[in-house]
Symmetry: C2
Subunit: 383 residues, 2 copies
């Protein structure tokens, strides 16, 4: 029960706003406004200091403090200096949540990748972070584990967290894209990278998969391979298709028909690779040149070939796509296309920033990152 400090009345008291963070009361009996003395100095639990704390400390209003902290113009230099001093003293850290809620931007980018443990994605994330943090953005990373359902859940979580944008590489499972379409329609900046969705009008960063596949084919032909085979990914996976298409196109240019090339689709699993390899080896005309759309399968196969005592590259040449470190360390060295994943990440982040900076003039762009053919022993049959 609050009683009026002037007339002692108790039931005519109404709250009437705040003064310096304290409840102000109004007595309707004697028309008197007052503030009760601090009733609870009870909570010494060291909270984070707020703008209000600084304001009270100096006997000024929170809005002035806010302005000073935000470096707004029209503030007395002495006031500003005082405010900064006290802020320092109280170890004030702005509450980004409150800030975000107020200006409805979080300065956070949501990133969805299939699996952070794959070096390719780890590098992409690193590239994104570099650009992001240089521009004052934080990054929230989610993994879909190649599950469509997880991917959808991740998108929802990030949207609910009100990220300022979404950078996404779809899971292999993903064939329907409504979960992306909705936030996209609501104007959330979205950038696709690596595994993109062609049906949505977003900015995209893609690998030159077609060119990479073509380069591998050309190289294998030059090395004298004639019985070619491709171990590919799921048929619905765009990047796999593109690599295969590029490969086949080069062959076509050289007058080699596509049906002369074995193409096996898979989910990139090691046992699938080994099983296929066995079948190839048992066929009447085993391949003398193998292209694995995913470097991991190339390594699976190499280890198996070595165990079988089959010489690489003399009997079978083998090439992969991606992941440089392992390819460089295995023996013989694995010929691959280096993808520059860090650059892919950087580009994705840059496209997002472009869109954020100039939303009106923004037009979705597709940026292509060229791979680099790195020739190692696994394919060098000549010179």
């Amino acid at each position: 029960m609050i009683e009026c400090v002037k007339c002692g009345q108790v039931d005519a008291i109404k709250r009437a706003g705040f003064v310096r963070g304290k409840q102000r009361f109004h007595c309707r009996h004697c028309s008197y406004h007052f503030v009760v003395a601090d009733p609870a100095p009870a909570k010494p639990a060291r909270r984070q200091a707020t703008i209000m704390d600084i304001a009270q400390h100096l006997g000024i209003s929170p809005s002035t403090v806010s302005r000073a902290l935000l470096n707004r113009y029209g503030i007395n230099e002495r006031t500003r200096a005082e405010i900064l001093r006290v802020a320092q003293e109280l170890d004030y850290q702005p509450n980004l949540l409150a800030q975000s809620l107020s200006n409805s931007e979080t300065h956070t980018i949501g990133v969805i990748i299939p699996d952070i443990e794959r070096p390719f994605f780890a590098s992409v994330v690193s590239g994104i972070q570099q650009v992001a943090s240089a521009s004052g953005y934080r990054v929230m990373v989610c993994q879909s584990n190649e599950s469509h359902q997880m991917e959808v859940a991740n998108v929802q979580a990030l949207v609910a967290s009100r990220v300022d944008g979404l950078l996404i590489c779809h899971s292999t499972e993903t064939t329907s894209f409504d979960h992306i379409r909705l936030p996209h329609r609501k104007g959330l900046p979205i950038v696709h990278f690596d595994r993109i969705c062609e049906d949505i009008d977003t900015s995209k960063v893609v690998q030159d998969d077609y060119g990479g596949g073509a380069a591998i084919a050309e190289h294998l032909l030059r090395q004298g391979c004639r019985q070619l085979a491709i171990f590919a990914g799921p048929p619905e996976l765009l990047i796999s298709r593109r690599r295969v298409e590029g490969f086949l196109s080069t062959l076509a240019d050289q007058g080699i028909a596509a049906d002369g090339v074995r193409v096996v689709h898979s989910h990139f699993k090691p046992d699938e690779a080994l099983h296929t390899l066995r079948e190839w080896l048992q066929s009447p005309a085993p391949p003398d040149g193998i292209f694995c759309v995913h470097y991991g399968n190339a390594i699976d196969m190499m280890l198996d070939l070595k165990q079988r005592g089959i010489r690489i590259p003399e009997e079978i040449a083998i090439a992969g796509f991606g992941e440089d470190r392992l390819a460089a360390v295995i023996e013989p060295g694995l010929t691959t296309i280096h993808q520059h994943p860090f650059q892919i990440g950087r580009q994705a982040a840059l496209l997002f920033l472009n869109q954020i900076m100039a939303p009106e003039s923004f037009v979705p762009t597709t940026h292509q990152v060229k791979g680099e053919l790195i020739v190692r022993q696994s394919t060098l049959r000549r010179g």
Copy 2:
């Protein structure tokens, strides 16, 4: 200018709270309360729906909607059903910012690691994410790039974002820990992993570095190595020191004095490793067994030894610590301690959850994750 809808007065109008999200006015002239007709149906820009939108749609109060959405008890089933229907219809997604601000918890864990591109940390992060997302937590990852300054900045950013906890592996540069001490004092749950700080009373997850080093030493001795050498990290780096200590302790047990073992400190850089290797090889009694505290240096050295035509393990046996994939693929296979980084991540997240769940009864715990000696060809000098 607002004029009273009853008496037409203009200067006796005062704002008087809100009704259904609309401004309510009070005319002091005729004592009439009113709400002006929606002045601006101008913004069809599809915003995210809010609780208020649902409430207005149904002519009920926002708190009822909130309660229904939060599955609180004491809500009419029919009302709840209606609310859920409309929520679905409007594609309502709760604004996590507002929620967080309101209950001052973000359900976000901040993670600071030196470098996501290192497979060890990528796995740790993955382990953290698994546990976190299973408990409804999001994860925000920052990289320090082994820079103390970046690490401090990261801590501040995460604290400002009001993460519910901090999981951190310090940079090699970090020797002062005040940036951790402050939030720790304010009660922010902090878990250290891998590279810990012993002076702060936090939960910790550590590798059994001592045991790992000991196991390597024992194994090398069994293989008949007698001239041992250690390529270590910075002397101030705890995990490096522990591995070395474990190694030396085993030797001591076998009556081998520590000064009979060459120990070189470094920053793990490849050229440092190669330089040291050259010196060792040129010494009067080159080592026949090398332990690299960091697997990367072991690989650097192996590649160099192979180029020099020095046989591994016959002439020199070599062992590393960590990173299984590369170690398995290089030839000869590299003997290492597998660290189970995914488990380390899981444990760190679990310790955080423990603290969150029962803050009163919480006592900082140190959890040790045992490594696993994986013996491969690089050290097998006997059967």
